[in-house]
Amino acid sequence: MTNKLSAALALVLTGVAMVAPGQARAGDQAAGVKIEKPWTRVTPPGAKVAAGFMTITNTGSQADRLVGGSVSLAKRIEVHEMSMKDGVMRMNEVANGIEIAPGATVVLKPGGYHLMFLGLTAAPKQGEPVKGKMKFEKAGEMAVEFTVAPLGAKSIGDGDKMTGGHEKDGMDHGSHHMNHGK
């Protein structure tokens, strides 16, 4: 597992190093994303899946992609899009990730784009933020902390009061960027 992870990390690093020359110039902001309000919600007992939501803004000057990530209480994460047409709910994995144009903001929310937490190893509990890492094609990995909303919440802070008082969005902007190039 650790081996796999470091192998994957090495691969990502190599990938980044390979594309780095173009973006490492003079401390530019070529790649950068801001993640706001990462949240998930309580699942029914025995649930094996959960969904994660957040608002992502591309603060860099080039298009980036959310390609995946990891979360402490699930075996893996996939980026999915839900759609409703003629009363049929469809769930599709967004194969190449979600593209975010420079300056654009993408909102992952119920009924649309979301992170699918697959193979839950523990149930999300209110008041216990869930640690995770989001992986972007250019900006690399960013640590996030998902606030846990109540069962059935449609947005963060929806309906019932949030317990635990975790008002901060759990982000530590910037400092978790991978060190591109150099």
């Binding site: 996939e78 709910m89 769930m91 994995e93």
Partner: protein, 207 residues
């Protein structure tokens, strides 16, 4: 010149009449449909929904569609490996049943799994324990479930995901059946809460 103007005025007036006639006809039809709906007439094509099935409830007991006869009920299809719409629908219905209170005691709600391979009765029971006790989970063998899916004209398909896993695409409409076993209305995810509650109230009142 004058004759021309007159003609075009007449033409305009005639078109105006056509528009008015169309509007009146439309309004009459709408009024008729609304009246029909108020009187409890079923939806167009309602007879094609529903039918006989044999399934297994979340307590592991055989459950036949016979048990639904004469009882207003809501029925929808989903699965527990569903991150969004299924738990949300169950949650919303739970809220509505609580709002309706004892009035909804005669109203049964059924959540039919489209994924019987993973949704065993025990698993359904545990999963549904987070929701209103008037919601019954139904599952069965693949064949039993396939038959129910067909009877209710529900769409369900497996979608492979990574790691040999899969998710399901499925119809997410909640069907509301009256005591005569006729499709009376539907609830949808896109409707606002008030509309859904009003429909459930009407179903509970009408029986």
């Amino acid at each position: 010149m004058a004759a021309r103007t007159l003609l075009s005025r007449i033409r305009l007036a005639l078109w105006g009449l056509v528009a008015l006639a169309a509007f009146v006809a439309g309004a009459l039809l709408l009024g008729h449909l609304q009246e029909a709906a108020r009187q409890g007439a079923s939806l167009p094509g309602a007879a094609r929904f529903g039918g006989d099935f044999e399934l297994v409830d979340h307590n592991g007991q055989a459950f036949s569609s016979e048990a639904l006869k004469g009882k207003p009920h809501a029925i929808f299809f989903g699965f527990t490996h569903c991150p969004d719409i299924c738990p949300t629908t169950l949650f919303e219905i739970t809220k509505h049943l609580e709002e309706l209170g004892p009035k909804a005691n005669g109203l049964k709600v059924f959540f039919v799994s489209v994924d019987p391979a993973r949704d065993t009765p025990e698993h359904l029971k545990n999963y549904l324990s987070a929701f209103d006790s008037r919601i019954t989970g139904l599952t069965g063998t693949q064949e039993q479930v396939a038959r129910a899916i067909k009877a209710y004209r529900v769409f369900a398909e497996k979608v492979p995901t990574g790691d040999d896993d899969y998710t399901m695409n499925h119809t997410a409409i909640v069907y509301l059946f009256d005591g005569q076993g006729t499709l009376a209305s539907t609830l949808s995810w896109e409707e606002d809460e008030k509309t859904r509650l009003a429909k459930l109230t009407r179903l509970a009142d009408r029986g």
